[in-house]
């Protein structure tokens, strides 16, 4: 059973439907005790970092999330659920985030007017390290992105994938031990994205 954290940041239907298609059972919850009892966690999210952090605090979810990551529970961050794992985000006038990973989230600035912000569509990911969740995934595969802010870290050993957009190379997949997080939406990235979710459903959290 996969526990999907609902912190009122966007629509979780697509994530649930993707696991349904794989025949993997899910529960969607905002209850700290259910997250503390989870054996596999998906941390999705679409929207703004400020509101997301506010909701996580109000729902008392920060400690359970940190505790479970520390305990080695397989943990998958998606989109905003990746961004707020870092120290801070430039969004909403500057937002202090969870600080589980070293790095920050910056705003895309269009270098010319043919580059549109947000990035919306399919872009390729250069894989930087091997990972159990990449089994069956070719390097430079394309995934579906929708975001106006991008995560970036200088901690090389946590960088699993990078992507180019609007003149920057940003960290599109980050990971450490039992934690892997991605800026793109695997649940919306066709068969290739579904492969990542399938690998996650079978992952023991070890690299």
């Amino acid at each position: 059973m996969i526990t999907i954290i609902d912190y009122k940041a966007g629509n979780l239907t697509s994530v649930r439907l993707a696991f349904d298609a794989l025949g993997v059972e899910t529960q969607i919850t905002d209850a700290p005790e259910k997250i503390l009892a989870a054996d596999k966690i998906v941390f999705p999210g679409v929207g703004a970092a400020g509101a997301a952090m506010h909701n996580l605090k109000a729902l008392n979810l920060i400690e359970p999330i940190k505790k479970q990551i520390k305990a080695g529970v397989p943990f998958l961050g998606i989109c905003l659920g990746m961004q707020i794992l870092f120290n801070r985000s430039a969004e909403d006038g500057g937002t202090v985030c969870l600080g589980i990973l070293d790095g920050e989230v910056k705003r895309f600035v269009a270098p010319s007017n043919d580059i549109k912000i947000p990035q919306m569509g399919w872009n390729s990911v250069s894989l930087k390290q091997k990972h159990p969740l990449f089994k069956g995934i070719e390097n430079h595969s394309e995934f579906y992105f929708v975001h106006g802010y991008y995560p970036i870290t200088t901690v090389t050993e946590t960088i699993y994938g990078v992507t180019d957009y609007a003149g920057v190379t940003f960290t599109s997949i980050v990971g450490r031990n039992n934690l892997l997080a991605m800026q793109f939406h695997p649940e919306k990235s066709g068969r290739i994205g579904l492969t990542i979710l399938n690998n996650f459903s079978k992952w023991d959290g070890k690299c």
């Binding site: 239907t13 439907l17 549109k116 912000i117 569509g121 919306k188």
Partner: protein, 259 residues
């Protein structure tokens, strides 16, 4: 590199996909769920679903059909037709859509854009616009006037002014429909698409007129589009998405080639 999106559009009426010429004389083409699944397997980068009679019949969108399509596909999914309130938007998102397309309603009640954008994020809100060419450059500096109700009613609003206003209200993407081109399969309106696309900072989707793969090449180069909607040319079986993408690749357009 970010790729240019190829987006099949399902116009749905009485639970069937239909297609007309210039929004008239629609013929039935098939089951929406089967067609959606087929296109997602054939390499569509996104899918659009319009409940084309919901608005005119004054009823809510066919939510069961939206759910069935969302369940079948694993690619981004935009839905439009009969969406009048925040509650309607929420129901569509909960049914499994990523994006909500508003059109006529946004012209008369533009607060639906800002409210929707605030509630669900700009990336969720797509503005469909139906401009027609006009000779009155004094009143319409862009040369195009926005119409509503399936091109039946003029609004007195300049197309470019409306696009910029919608961007500032918080839409995440604009679909530029061309009535003159719709169903004609004679190519997109390149002039209009380029005009809008170079004047806003959000993605612009061209719609109406696709008949051969070369039309997509043109709209991604001369038309400066970020994405293009196709219908008749694939619904009739005349072309596959693979054939379209092969021509895009040959023209060195960034294209998602593997799926």
């Amino acid at each position: 590199m970010l790729t240019k999106r190829v987006i099949p559009c399902l116009d749905v009426k009485n639970k069937k996909v239909t297609k007309g010429v210039r929004f008239q004389n629609n013929v039935e083409l098939g089951d929406p769920v089967e067609m959606a699944l087929g296109y997602s397997r054939d390499g569509a980068d996104e899918l659009v679903f319009y409940d084309i009679t919901a608005s005119a019949e004054g009823r809510p969108i066919d939510i069961e059909m939206v759910k069935a399509v969302a369940r079948a596909i694993r690619i981004p999914f935009a839905v439009g037709g009969g969406i009048a309130t925040l509650e309607d938007m929420y129901r569509v998102l909960l049914a499994g859509a990523e994006k909500i397309s508003v059109n006529s309603l946004a012209v008369t009640n533009s607060s639906i854009i800002s409210e929707g954008s605030k509630a669900f994020g700009a990336q969720c809100i797509v503005l469909g616009m139906d401009p027609v060419k006009t000779a009155d450059r004094k009143k319409f500096p862009s040369g195009y006037e926005i119409t509503v109700k399936g091109f039946r009613q003029r609004t007195g609003i300049d197309a470019l002014e409306w696009a910029k206003r919608a961007e500032s209200l918080g839409v995440g993407e604009i679909v530029v429909n061309s009535v003159d081109a719709d169903g004609m399969q004679t190519g997109f309106n390149l002039e209009l698409t380029a005009l809008i696309s170079t004047s806003v900072n959000i993605p612009v989707v061209a719609s109406g007129g696709a008949g051969v793969p070369q039309h997509l090449v043109e709209v991604f180069t001369q038309g400066k589009a970020d994405a293009a909607i196709i219908a008749s040319m694939v619904h009739t079986g005349k072309y596959t998405i693979r054939q379209i993408k092969d021509e895009m690749v040959a023209a060195k357009i960034p294209t998602r080639e593997k799926w």
